[in-house]
């Protein structure tokens, strides 16, 4: 019997070890499980750039770009009127840290006011914390909707041979290491209270019998301490008074200590404001996209979009990129976060002209990212076409294409 138990235990341990050793680490962030059309119609990401992909612990890199809450924002999310947002970083836990966040040029520690059609130029200064290679995305959370991810990148955080700390400066000028600040005090305090609790329990359970007391307590009223039968004695009362007095004294001493050691305290802050408008939001709108349709051929993994583009400006405009969810497609040579697309007949639209452009990508990413599921309740592809004019001004033209999937 014992041998059988041992074998069983061995088999369970082996199975556990196998499961742990062959299971791949979870690296995604759940974005693919969000409905494609909701991801595409909510937040658009433009020109997102990571300053570097290798940092040491404590060193910083920046993630900068522009996020737009699309005019096509779905009526089913945040009641169709997004009003509070939070731009941050998504990573597998606090492997990196947000050290600074500016939105439209101003520091924005917490949430911001947002609105449909709002454009937010962000810059996140992020520090490496835990050594390893981590997939990191900028994220835009909208109250009442959820979190939308921007383009992601693998960031390698190397161990810092000089050691790692996370200094911040208190109002009194003192610099502290946030990684372990006051940790001993916190644990000691919690452990002292725990020890008092254990002592109280030992007092009642070790010298006194427990289970057999039921024979007596079942025969006496609830509102008595059973002193006449010896269940609880005067000595117990006296000792418990001392316990209570001791605990009260501990609280008094603790209170006096915190008042002396940390004299200046304030409540947690809630910071919310409307960031200023960026230049791009108030620039003259010269690009417009309309009458868009899209198809996707599963066999050749070819996505095609036909769209009428109108240039109402005074100079020629050039298509720089097409972006949807966390994907960027560019004509020409793609950057590290971009993918290639072909544009016909040309990427340039003359002033005053309306041209039908055909955008084509040969890329399995549409399927890999679950963006073209025919099971969706709205078969549309939504994104942003980014145009630059000859003077260098940029325009973001939203495009919403009717998707014509091939069911075979």
């Amino acid at each position: 019997m014992r041998r059988r138990h041992r074998r069983l235990l061995g088999a369970v341990l082996l199975a556990g070890a196998l499961v742990v050793s062959i299971s791949p680490a979870a690296q995604a962030h759940g974005e693919k499980s969000q409905e494609a059309f909701l991801r595409m119609t909510s937040v658009g990401w433009v020109d997102v750039k990571f300053s570097q992909d290798h940092v040491k612990q404590g060193e910083t890199f920046t993630i900068a770009g522009t996020a737009k809450i699309l005019d096509a924002w779905p009526s089913g999310l945040a009641k169709g009127a997004p009003n509070t947002g939070f731009i941050s970083v998504i990573a597998p836990g606090p492997v990196v840290m947000v050290k600074e966040r500016t939105i439209n040029g101003v520091s924005a520690p917490d949430r911001i006011d947002v609105h449909k059609g709002g454009i937010y130029e962000f810059s996140l200064t992020v520090a490496g914390r835990r050594a390893g290679t981590w997939h990191v995305h900028p994220s835009f959370s909208v109250k009442g909707a959820g979190t939308l991810l921007g383009p992601g990148m693998w960031i390698t955080v190397e161990k810092n041979p000089a050691g790692y700390s996370n200094p911040i400066t208190l109002d009194n000028g003192k610099t502290i290491n946030l990684e372990n600040y006051q940790l001993p005090f916190t644990w000691i305090w919690l452990l002292i209270t725990f020890v008092i609790g254990v002592a109280w329990m030992i007092y009642w359970t070790v010298p006194k019998r427990t289970v057999t007391n039921l024979a007596v307590t079942s025969q006496i009223p609830l509102n008595t301490d059973g002193m006449e039968y010896g269940l609880i004695t005067k000595r117990d009362h006296r000792n418990m008074n001392w316990f209570a007095i001791g605990t009260a004294l501990l609280l008094v001493v603790g209170w006096l200590y915190q008042a002396a050691a940390f004299p200046t305290k304030m409540p947690q802050q809630v910071i919310q404001f409307a960031p200023p408008q960026p230049a791009i939001a108030s620039a003259p709108q010269f690009a417009k996209a309309s009458n868009a349709t899209a198809t996707y051929d599963r066999g050749s993994k070819t996505f095609t979009m036909n769209v009428d583009v109108t240039n109402s400006g005074k100079t020629a405009m050039t298509l720089k990129e097409f972006t949807t969810t966390n994907l960027n497609f560019v004509p020409g040579t793609p950057g590290p976060l971009d993918r290639q697309m072909q544009v016909a007949p040309t990427t340039t639209v003359d002033p005053g002209a309306t041209t039908k452009l055909t955008l084509t990508t040969h890329d399995s990413v549409w399927q890999d990212e679950h963006l073209l599921t025919v099971g969706s309740s709205q078969l549309e592809v939504t994104g942003i076409l980014v145009f630059d004019d000859a003077d260098g001004a940029s325009n973001l033209a939203e495009v919403q294409a009717i998707m014509q999937p091939q069911f075979k």
């Binding site: 947000v98 600040y181 916190t186 609790g197 109280w200 209570a244 809630v270």
Partner: protein
């Protein structure tokens, strides 16, 4: 004479030596049950007050003193009834507090520290022990669950706040950060990213024109104590209705 005889009989019963029920059974009960009790208390706390217990930037002076005492007094109250009824021990609340601390301590250390790398000074759990000592002491002194629910629950809430404000104090110090003055706890909350928990989900004091002379903390303490009384009676219902009564029915039947 009849009363004296009964008293003598019960006194003998208190000291009676049983052949088959020895102290091992006591040890088995206390040691095995503490994990069940601790887990029950932890789950209840997480259901009602999870985030307030997880992060320092949630441990505010308005909501934390209301939701957490209510959440943690429930299981403690049930155990207080059971242990007083069965063994006449004023230990139910403290037993729950000790079990809860063990569960949360291990949980924070392993799940939050070792697995996902949060610094422990950001995710330390609140302690319930000092508050529990006073609640058990009130039961011992009053021998009444009604009085314990009123006096004990109020004392529980107030001492819980004091015993947890002390370790929180260092994290309420002002710091210079992102062009502003915020608390150390705020810095922890923003720097150590928690994916899928955007900052706007944080339920902390936002300010209100109805706040009594700006003294949010005292209003919250009074309201929290009142809510804790309700929590205490929910625990009593669990102890009486879901534990003792069904067991009694089962024993009578068989």
């Amino acid at each position: 004479m009849a009363t004296d005889a009964k008293t003598l009989e019960l006194r003998e019963l208190v000291n009676k030596q049983y052949r088959y029920i020895d102290r091992k059974w006591d040890a088995v009960f206390w040691i095995t049950a503490i994990f069940v009790v601790g887990a029950a208390a932890d789950i209840t706390k997480q259901l009602f007050a999870g985030d307030w217990d997880f992060w320092t930037d949630w441990k505010d002076r308005q909501w934390w003193p209301i939701v957490t005492p209510f959440a943690i007094i429930i299981i403690g109250s049930a155990l207080q009834y059971i242990q007083w009824l069965a063994w006449r021990f004023p230990t139910g609340m403290t037993y729950t507090a000790v079990g809860l601390f063990l569960c949360t301590f291990v949980g924070r250390w392993v799940q939050w520290g070792a697995f996902v790398y949060y610094p422990m000074n950001f995710v330390w759990p609140a302690t319930m022990v000092a508050a529990a000592i006073f609640a058990d002491w009130v039961l011992l002194k009053t021998k009444s669950f009604i009085l314990t629910s009123v006096i004990g629950a109020i004392l529980f809430s107030v001492t819980w706040w004091i015993s947890n404000y002390i370790p929180l104090a260092p994290y309420l110090q002002p710091a210079h950060w992102m062009d502003r003055i915020v608390t150390v706890a705020d810095v922890q909350g923003i720097e150590y990213i928690h994916s899928q928990t955007p900052e706007y989900l944080r339920i902390v004091e936002h300010g209100s024109l109805r706040t009594f002379l700006g003294e949010t903390q005292y209003v919250s303490l009074v309201f929290g104590a009142t809510v804790a009384i309700a929590g205490y009676w929910i625990g009593q219902f669990i102890g009486r209705g879901l534990a003792i009564w069904p067991i009694g029915r089962f024993i009578k039947r068989w």
